[in-house]
């Protein structure tokens, strides 16, 4: 199995609080992604990174920011959580473009 871990695995937070999700990889892969999964919407790209300090927005980036200061870590921050951000969040990694993606186990976030 690819070395990719997400933390925390589950989190309940209150509306308006900041939340940071962490994705850690041991594969030295260049590309890292954050997706959210909601019923009826599939996997939607939030942000992605194609190198250290190189990040870009995905389809649903509003309300989210990311940082990647090291190859192995990709952080997703909800500056002020809202109920619409209740979702399952997946991190994924690839070593190069057009190659297999490996997914973390997901983080279930509930905003109350």
């Amino acid at each position: 199995d690819a070395g990719i871990t997400q933390s925390p695995r589950h989190k309940v937070t209150e509306t308006g609080t900041p939340v940071t999700l962490r994705c850690h990889q041991t594969e030295n892969h260049r590309y890292m992604y954050w997706y959210r999964q909601d019923p009826g919407h599939g996997l939607r790209l939030i942000h992605y990174s194609y190198g250290v300090k190189d990040t870009d927005k995905g389809e649903v980036s509003d309300g989210y920011s990311v940082s990647r200061s090291k190859t192995e870590d990709f952080l997703l921050t909800l500056e002020s959580a809202t109920s619409s951000q209740t979702s399952v969040y997946f991190c994924a990694i690839t070593g190069a473009m057009n190659t297999e993606a490996f997914f973390g186990q997901g983080t279930r976030l509930t905003v109350v």
Partner: protein, 112 residues
């Protein structure tokens, strides 16, 4: 833009065949296919590249029609273990800052 998958859901009896389609409004460079079991992370099945051949392993295969900007996943003589949600993911170029965009998924349920 998310690729469009069809059908949204399909129910089969064990041993029957299924076809899942994935189409894009933009020219594609590659198409990925993943399967996700309930409560788990998506798992890679295969990737097809522009100019490549049809791929397959065991009873699951896929094709990529570049002109029509679409791919199809074929599951023959389906087994109970094939149940899950199938996602196609698309990449449009070889550029280092490209990303993988997934469709909404196709739910496949195999009955004994």
């Amino acid at each position: 833009q998310q690729p469009v998958q069809s059908p949204q859901a399909v129910i089969l009896r064990e041993g029957e065949d299924a076809v899942i389609n994935c189409s894009s409004s933009k020219a594609l460079y590659s198409v990925h296919w993943y399967r996700q079991k309930h409560g788990e992370a998506p798992v890679f099945l295969m990737i097809l590249l522009k100019g490549g051949e049809q791929k397959g392993h065991e009873k699951i295969s896929a094709s990529f029609n570049e002109k029509k900007q679409q791919s199809s996943l074929y599951l023959t003589a389906s087994q109970l273990s094939y149940s899950g949600t199938y996602f196609c993911g698309t990449e449009w170029s070889m550029n280092r800052d490209d990303k993988i965009i997934f469709g909404k998924g196709t739910r496949l349920h195999i009955l004994p």
